[in-house]
Symmetry: C3
Subunit: 268 residues, 3 copies
């Protein structure tokens, strides 16, 4: 299948190009995001002061905006960084962490989606639902009962915002206009460690920075994370738990190759 | 013993209820605190901006206030978050990191203890001594020579502030009014990795969110951390050091069950 | 050789004295820096608010200033902390992360090097080159073509600023006035995890806090990190990758002893 070849090829390209991935993100998973970015074969940078983000983004090949642990200063820096990314034509990955929970985050999401053209949004089902409600307000339409499952919700939001929308969870869904894909990789233990969503957004940025097709880049990233989770779990022995799983997850990311990605990916 | 049954039962409850634990904490151990919260079976959230903490705490079942890497903005957010926690009736766990060392932290502790009714204070001996001195000033009494060992110091502070006081160290002590308990679990390697105190505070929040008795919740948490340290150390092979110990610690937390807690706990 | 004996002796002293090492640093590697500081046998503290850094540094035996994720508030705190360190006579280790990339960092480096007498600068080749350019501007001299390899560049900057200059990379170089030394330890995997540069700066602070000779302290630290990387890599099995490497790195640091340091160090 063409999509599978492209997925595997994007990993090959990523390892070859070592793109620089700029993050403005929360401090819970910032170290994990840096390590997974390095692990997959790219380079991370995490500047967040408004006085330097424009310059720093000018060296980058993709930008991650993650609103976990947000504050007003960081939001301003995200907008400036995002404007530079748009001008430079590099992908922006938006991770709307906890977006439904507080007004600060809803307002931040509104500003980001109004002022920037993001390339990919990755969230869990409730976050993407919150954005769908927000986009209904933005576009003056009613979102009630307009979608009732992940695929429909992702497609609706994708159409409305003109970007890739990924919902990660038990089953992952990626939608981009008329294209939609479900990914069946992953393991329940991934929900037992912090930052797997944030790390997935880092991977999306890595992959999307080396492919012109953000749908393929997003599918490749989410499959890579899911497969890494499966491999990490498989190697656990009794007495080993979430500590070892975390270590093995980064092991699996850093030893992933296009062949096992192709072999283990489960799409429909 | 009743206390042992209650300790084991609180772990059972915790795993069943998956409470949401809000943290405002330092950035050194924030990732470790999130992972131990997930590891024991709860969910962490780490918002800290004054504009969103009230809303976020309204979803939570306990609140951790940790004054490591404090700044004035964060202190204001702690007060707002704490007021919401008090109003909601959820436990507040106060971790007075480095409280004796600087005026900023002494003033912060004074404000927290004056403006909020905290449920549990967990510190090392010198931090709890510093708070006893502070509380003497607050209450206009002399603290000199009023207590000369951990049990007495913890009891004195507990009486004065009307909350559980835990001193963690070589031997751990938990006091609440007339109830006092020493815990003999743990391993010296726990002092060799950063954030074990902070992680213990996270565990206290987890356990106290599911039991009405914060004395039991605190004893259960400290015993859990100590036992996890013992198990983690036991599995070390030669050549393995603090890196592997950290991994095994989270392994032991995530695979801990009420039975081995009951079997390994050492109290008096 | 005298230098080897002194290197091994500084590790012995460090384990004995357990110095307190103050850091003002970025949030990507802050946890790793705390753990490596503990791992080698010292104690970390990470306060960064301008209202408390002076007091906190007064307890410390060395100060690390790292300009990753810099912001103006943190820079002010660095200056205040640095002034206290200078007054107290404890070593200041300056890690000019990403210094060539943005005006904010160039200005910060200029202020730090103008207002403080730092003891050791540790950077990669491009960072040290950027500082050499900066120092040329500061001293009104032309830096073009004045140095064309690591040893010369390090020596030139060392002479100009009167401090130890270390360039870490494939081969590490340490220069201090007329003394210069290349270190051939290390492994390529060290570049695959985040924060190894920052952690090396923490080690330099640890070692320099217990020796009067910052050249020796810096050589000892960089050799320790390199040797730990070699040992960590040697123990990897197939399927293990960067996750396990990180764990083994901290294992190797925490189990390092003067004897294997002496045995494995490669200098010229």
């Amino acid at each position: 299948m063409d999509i599978l070849y492209n997925v595997a090829d994007s990993l090959r390209l990523l390892r070859e190009k070592r793109p620089l991935i700029h993050h403005i993100t929360n401090y819970v998973s910032i170290n994990d995001c840096a390590n997974i970015t390095l692990g997959i074969g790219a380079s991370p940078v995490m500047a967040e002061d408004i006085d330097e983000v424009q310059e720093m983004v000018s060296f980058a090949s993709a930008l991650v905006l993650n609103i976990g642990m947000l504050n007003p200063r960081k939001l301003e820096a995200m907008i400036v960084a995002g404007q530079q990314a748009v001008q430079k034509g590099i992908p922006i990955i938006f991770d709307p962490v906890g977006v439904g929970a507080t007004k600060l985050r809803m307002d931040a999401a509104h500003r980001i989606l109004t002022e920037l053209q993001v390339t990919v949004i990755r969230g869990n089902l409730s976050e993407i639902k919150a954005l769908l409600g927000l986009s209904s307000d933005m576009h003056g339409v009613d979102c009630l009962a307009e979608a009732d499952n992940g695929r429909e919700i992702a497609q609706k939001l994708s159409e409305r915002l003109g970007c890739v929308v990924a919902i990660t969870g038990r089953t992952d869904v990626v939608a981009y206009g008329s294209r939609v894909c479900s990914i069946y990789n992953g393991h329940a233990l991934l929900a037992g460690i912090t930052g797997t969503g944030c790390m997935t957004a880092s991977l999306i940025a890595c992959f999307c920075s080396v492919t012109n097709d953000p749908f393929i880049g997003t599918v490749a990233s989410i499959a890579t994370m899911g497969i890494a989770g499966e491999l990490a779990e498989k190697r656990l022995t009794p007495n080993e738990g979430l500590g070892t799983f975390r270590v093995r997850l980064l092991d699996a990311i850093s030893t992933m190759n296009p062949e096992n990605l192709l072999q283990l990916i489960k799409l429909s």
